[in-house]
Amino acid sequence: MFNYTFQWRQAFRALPEMLEGALYTMQIAVLSMIIGIAIAVILAVGRNSSSRWLRAPATAWVEVARNTPALFQIYMAHFGLGSFGIYLSPYVALLAGITFNNAGYLCETFRGALRAIPDTQMRAGRSLGMGPAKAFRLIVMPQMFRIAFLPTMNQMVWAILMTSLGVTVGMAIDLTGVTQALNARTFRTFEFFAMAAIIYYLITKAVMLASRLVAWRLFRY
């Protein structure tokens, strides 16, 4: 039944190449998180705004980001925009797609966190002579980030795994892209993808471990 002979040596020989790909994977994930968090804060404020003109686009973003497959979002950034004459490279399209998805999910995470902080905190800040922006920055935001921290790190893990979808828009330099190329060259499918899976696993484990350490160090209260 099984006449497949494993050839791990070939896979191990390609390890440096794959690890280099993993660096791009991390790069895209980190960038998509940084930009995603920035946009998510704006979206969260927009969704809580009393102005319909701010609320509507923010809500639309969140709805689409959370209720359509991430693969479609990346496709849209690459092939969809291409229909309108806007051509994004695979790297940029993948980054844009994941950032779009991150922003949508993180917006709701932040909004939930904001809701968990009593209004009286803001009031206390204002009564000490702080303007609304200063009170938000010094009192509300740090508390919001603590509540949102672990869910945000979950999204980071999700972002790392989502980068693998880049291969569908021709992304060739990230971990999945590199693995796919090796596979096409050698047909050692199982070995290469198993190696890639282990690398993904180790990366996400490391991220979770690091975030626990950071949380423990940062949130002493």
Binding site: P118, T120, Q121, R123, A124, G125, R126, S127, L128, G129, M130, G131, K134, L138, I139, P142, Q143, R146, F219, R220, Y221
Partner: protein
């Protein structure tokens, strides 16, 4: 001097304040008593501009609180307020809670702000707690920290909004002692309170609020001894 002139305030259809007139002189301690929903607490949040008013005006040292041109952030530096819920900032240590506003609002250096904070915290009996987070403090300690936090801005006026109402009975005394200390030091204070003994012992004048109206005001001996107003007498007999 705080001058409150004919202040009206509604929340939707509910009229909370129906024409309040009250003048509080420098160094004076005025206690405000009355049933819940009588508008006492609302008045305090109007004085520092946290709530807008519908009619009338409030002057603090001649500055109209609700005038469009008034810089409320600047005005609030001289009006400290302490709330029923202590509103400690949970992400900051006790010391950081107290130094935050002096540093970030007044632009004071860290060292100077910490010196002031430590002095205020020692004053309220929390000198040994400066490094801990508020979650480690009892309610009474959190409330005293909130008082120190307001005092660190060296305000000219202090507003206390039922500061002992959320405390366990055995913790009320320590907070009231802090307030007494402050009153003895000559601080101008308006205290909304349910502590009748405190109102009687510490206040220069006691105001009784009833359904949005200041029904009676006078020295404690008058209010607690020979109240002229029927509603005052009724209220006092119900709380004693």
């Amino acid at each position: 001097m705080i001058e409150i002139e004919n202040v009206h305030k509604s929340f939707g259809a509910l009229k909370v304040l129906k024409g309040i007139d009250l003048t509080v002189d420098k160094g004076e301690v005025v206690s405000v008593i009355g049933g819940s929903g009588s508008g006492k607490s609302t008045l305090l949040t109007c004085i520092n501009g946290l709530e807008p008013i519908d009619e009338g005006r409030i002057l603090v040292d001649g500055t109209e609180v609700h005038a469009r041109s008034t810089d409320l952030n600047k005005l609030r530096r001289k009006i400290g307020i302490v709330f029923q819920q202590f509103n400690a900032f949970p992400h900051l240590t006790v010391l950081e809670n107290v130094t935050l506003a002096p540093r970030k609002v007044k632009g004071m250096g860290r060292k100077e702000a910490e010196e002031i904070a430590v002095r205020q915290l020692e004053h309220v009996g929390l000198g040994d707690k400066i490094k801990v987070y508020p979650s480690r403090l009892s309610g009474g300690q959190q409330q005293r920290m909130a008082i120190a936090r307001a005092l660190a801005m060296s305000p000219d006026y202090m507003l206390f909004d039922e500061v002992t109402s959320a405390l366990d009975p055995q913790l009320v005394g320590e907070v009231l002692d802090t307030l007494k200390l402050l009153a003895d030091g000559g601080m101008t204070m308006i205290c909304v309170t349910h502590e009748m003994r405190f109102a009687r012992e510490v206040s220069d004048r006691v105001a009784f609020f009833d359904q949005g109206v200041m029904a009676e005001i006078g020295p404690p001996e008058q209010i607690f001894g020979e109240a002229k107003n029927e509603a005052t007498r009724k209220f006092l007999s119900s709380v004693r």
